[in-house]
């Protein structure tokens, strides 16, 4: 079966800096692939290239068997790809529920008929008139959004109407993931979902991601907390200075001398991760 995501020879320069030198990866249905590496290794740039926020200088991306190199993010969302952002980009003035509903935007059908040229005008008219089909669609999306938010137990459900700016950092990250799930993605890109979370919150998030994987969702994960990577990943790619330096099963990667070198070579960065990486496997 063809991979869900095929990345070939992706490259990106910023001025004189090569952020991503030659990224190649395959991601198969139902797989969880982690990308790890020290800070500045090019992980987030790679995400941006795949998700259409940045244009690659060279290379290609195929998504669900279609060419998606340099495709605008709107189109990728329509194809069924959702992503979260490293520093959490929720819509601050929107309520928790509205944030999640925006995530479902590309699933709107009744109110957004796919008619050329006059499509936007129809959409405007339908939003104003709101016939039964549109109302039913909205109600279904709301119910779905609440179901998705209940993944996080009672963390967000009591706060449906709260503006996102009033939430704690961890809750904002949860809203981001709920927003991504509302797209009903076939491919989910998670950029450090546990960044800035404490131990309890991290364990909770790890369970959520494990459940998503169990439900069959295909996931590309960037993560610094190696414990989580080792437990959840089917395969791991290690990046350093824009290059892929290792790929394989979690246990193989952790013993790879190049990986240990990369982490220890960057003295000032990734200190905690380095310790975890060189820790001998049981």
């Amino acid at each position: 079966m063809a991979p869900i995501l095929e990345v070939r020879g992706l490259r990106k320069h910023f001025g004189g800096v090569t952020a991503v030198a030659d990224a190649t990866l395959d991601l198969h249905e139902g797989e969880l692939l982690s990308i790890i590496g020290p800070n500045g290794a090019g992980k987030t740039t790679l995400f941006n290239l795949i998700s259409g926020l940045d244009l690659p200088d060279a290379g290609s991306v195929r998504l669900f068997g279609q060419d998606a190199t340099g495709a605008p993010p709107e189109r990728l969302a329509g194809l069924g790809m959702a992503r979260t952002f490293q520093h959490g980009r929720v819509f601050g003035n929107l309520s928790v529920l509205d944030n999640v509903l925006v995530g479902a935007h590309s699933r709107l059908r009744a109110v957004k008929p796919a008619v050329p040229i006059i499509g936007p005008l129809l959409e405007f008219a339908l939003a104003a008139i709101r016939p039964a089909a549109v109302r039913a669609e909205e109600a279904a999306l709301r119910a779905d959004a609440i179901r998705i938010l209940s993944v996080f137990g009672d963390r967000l459900i009591p706060r449906l109407d709260h503006p996102a700016f009033s939430l704690s950092y961890a809750n904002r990250r949860r809203v981001e993931i709920a927003r991504a799930l509302a797209l009903h993605p076939r491919l989910l890109l998670l950029d450090e979902p546990t960044a800035g979370m404490n131990q309890t919150e991290t364990v909770e998030m790890q369970e959520v991601v494990a459940d998503l994987k169990r439900s069959g969702l295909t996931i590309l994960l960037i993560e610094h907390k190696l414990e989580m990577v080792m437990r959840l990943s089917d395969r791991v790619i290690v990046m350093d200075n824009g290059n892929r330096i290792a790929e394989g099963l979690p246990q193989e990667v952790r013993r790879d001398p190049a990986v240990i070198e990369a982490y220890l070579g960057h003295r000032a960065t990734g200190g905690a991760a380095a310790g975890a990486a060189v820790e001998p496997a049981p």
Binding site: N93, L101, G103, V111, P163, R179
Partner: protein
């Protein structure tokens, strides 16, 4: 013939030098404060009047005149930074820009109150001789202006390159957080930059006064605009680029006047502005073509929890408003009708600026399009008024969206600059397209309001019509805000990148917002045109755009009830204090400044 072209070139260079004195300051300020200073032209006017006063009352010689101008304008610059901008650290991203608009209103009004709005002649302080060169001539004043331009550039270069404070300015411009950590006193840097920029702007003002032999308080707006155009040509924050941009602008205008005539002069400047924003938003001298990222500090609009007004309260207010004509107070009704027309404009702007975050500074142009469309349909095509008005709304929706479309990919300050330019272009096209719009004569004898035979030309009729239309528009807007459109619009405002990643296309939803906004504003302009029976290209000017923005901020950005409340308060309150009529715009400016500083979420809260 060749001599004439020589003269046009000299003239272009001189004007370019004057623009450069403005644009260099704008570039410096943008560099350190990430801010397009809309009060810059007001300082230039202050400079012109200080120069005029020094010569007229004190009889100062030229060097002393310039010294007075430099000192006073530098102090004004320090005041702007210290009182208007520094307290806004950490406020929403759009706050400092709005504050400079408020400061501009206040400064202009103060100058006007002190010196009267009448034009003054600045006495020439240089000998009146001209050298003849190959058929053209160069005068002493031309040389003086060129000399001051070159000297200022050289001194500025030396300051930035060789002094410690100059290094601090450059460091702050590159990365103010890093500069602060290295021990640079960035507050002081900001003060110095505002002082230098304002002094240069003042010199520019006094030189212009001598060159055209005339100054008036109203010339500030044009000066700000021209400085911004030159700045954009050179690239925001690029000091040498600003000088290059100014010379290009000066020459373009001078040759443009030679080829097409004076009334086209500003059209060239603004078309150049829009072309630059669309094709080279980083300026002619930048290598990269993409926009620099906007500073990501805080949210775009102030965070707040909007006040919820129960529907029964709204219903009661509407009912009371509908009963107002029974009081038999025609003057009160007149004010009421005016407030309602402004409220329609405010509804439109609160959607565009508040809900979608595109702070339009040219919104009055939509009124002009609506007014002219309806007036011309009724006058020239003979359409009934009741058909012409909604048709004008639709025309404004289509034309307004089309005009702003090139600016859709811009963000933040760029949107404000672009809409300002587009607004000016609309007014200049109306002035120059004589065949359609009757040009400077304006549109007279527009038929009065009537709906299928019912005459609504009376005060009561106008009032009731406005009330019905406003209530319908407001209900529609609330309904749209509660639909998926509302959350999509607000998502684009809060984070357009994240919105796109979830399939919310910026172009599509901005177009829908400008379409609806254009419709509401177009209807407002059309009703105004029929109610006034006469409009011209100046009826809906930049002052109205700024007033509408003040209303919208007063009510709370994006807040429908707030927009209506803001419009009513700002139109009705000055009437209650009629003895203050002279100070009306001054009061608007002060209200705007106080709001931005102390209640950025407005009375009803941002949505």
């Amino acid at each position: 013939m060749l001599g004439a072209w020589f003269d046009y070139t000299v003239n272009g260079f001189v004007i370019g030098n004057i623009y450069a004195l403005l644009a260099v300051g704008l570039a410096l300020i943008y560099g350190v404060a990430n801010l397009v200073n809309f009060a810059h032209g007001s300082v230039y006017v202050v400079g012109a009047y200080v120069g005029w006063a020094a010569i007229t009352y004190l009889g100062t010689p030229l060097p002393v005149t310039l010294l007075c101008v430099v000192v006073v304008c530098a102090l004004v610059g320090v005041g702007i930074e210290r009182l208007g901008l520094r307290p806004l650290h950490g406020a929403s991203r759009i706050a400092p820009l709005l504050a400079t608009i408020g400061i501009a209103l206040v400064l202009d009004q103060v100058v006007q109150l002190i010196f009267s709005p009448d034009p003054r002649a600045v006495p020439m302080q240089v000998p009146d001789w001209r050298i003849t060169l190959g058929g053209g001539t160069i005068g002493a004043l031309d040389l003086l202006i060129a000399g001051i331009g070159l000297t200022s550039a050289a001194v500025l270069y030396g300051f930035l390159r060789f002094t410690k404070l100059g290094w601090a300015v450059r460091a702050t411009a590159q990365d103010s957080d890093a500069a602060k950590q290295m021990g640079v006193d960035t507050d002081r840097v900001n003060l110095v930059v505002f002082a230098i920029a304002s002094a240069l702007s003042g010199i520019s003002g006094v030189l212009v006064g001598m060159y055209y032999n005339q100054i008036n308080p109203a010339m500030s707006f044009e000066a700000t605009l021209k400085g911004i155009v030159a700045l954009i040509i050179g690239g925001l924050g690029n000091v040498p680029g600003a000088i290059g941009g100014s010379l290009i602008l000066g020459l373009t205008e001078s040759y443009g006047i030679a080829l097409f005539g004076t009334s086209y002069r500003n059209l060239f400047a603004f078309v150049l502005l829009i072309a630059m924003l669309v094709w080279r938003p980083n300026g002619l001298f930048a290598a990269r073509r993409s926009l620099p990222p906007e500073p990501m500090t805080g949210t775009f609009i102030a965070r707040s929890r909007p006040l919820k007004v129960p529907s029964w309260a709204v219903a009661v207010v509407i009912l009371l408003a509908a009963l107002l004509p029974l009081l038999d107070a025609p003057y009160l009704l007149q004010i009421g009708a005016n407030s309602l027309m402004y409220a329609m404009l405010a509804l439109s702007l609160t959607l565009v600026a508040g809900t979608v975050g595109q702070v339009s500074l040219g919104h009055a142009a939509l009124l002009a399009i609506g007014g002219y469309a309806s007036g011309l349909l009724a006058l020239d095509a003979g359409w009934p008024v009741a058909v012409a008005i909604p048709a004008a709304g639709l025309i404004t929706a289509a034309l307004g969206t089309l005009l702003v479309f090139p600016a859709f990919r811009l963000t933040g300050h760029y949107v404000s600059i672009a809409t300002l330019g587009i607004g000016e272009i609309v007014s200049l096209v109306i002035l120059n397209w004589t065949g359609l719009t009757r040009g400077a004569i304006g549109l007279g004898g527009i038929p009065p309001l009537e709906v299928f035979g019912y005459d609504l030309g009376s005060v009561q009729g106008t009032y009731w019509l406005c009330l019905v239309v406003l209530v319908l528009l407001a209900l529609l807007q609330v309904r749209l805000l509660n639909s998926h459109l509302g959350r999509s619009w607000r998502a684009i405002r809060d984070d357009s990148v994240a919105a796109r990643s979830y399939g919310v296309s910026g172009d599509r939803y901005k177009a829908l917002a400008f379409g609806y906004g254009g419709f509401a504003a177009g209807i407002s302009g059309a009703i105004t045109a029929h109610a006034y029976s006469y409009i011209n290209h100046e009826t809906f000017g930049a002052t109205i755009s700024i007033l509408a923005l003040t209303m919208v901020i007063l009510g709370g950005l994006g807040n429908v009830v707030g927009a209506v409340l803001g419009a009513t308060l700002l139109i009705a309150l000055p009437e209650a204090f009629r003895f203050l009529a002279e100070y009306r715009i001054l009061i608007y400016g002060i209200v705007l400044l106080l709001l931005i500083r102390f209640r950025p979420q407005g009375l009803m809260g941002t949505v």
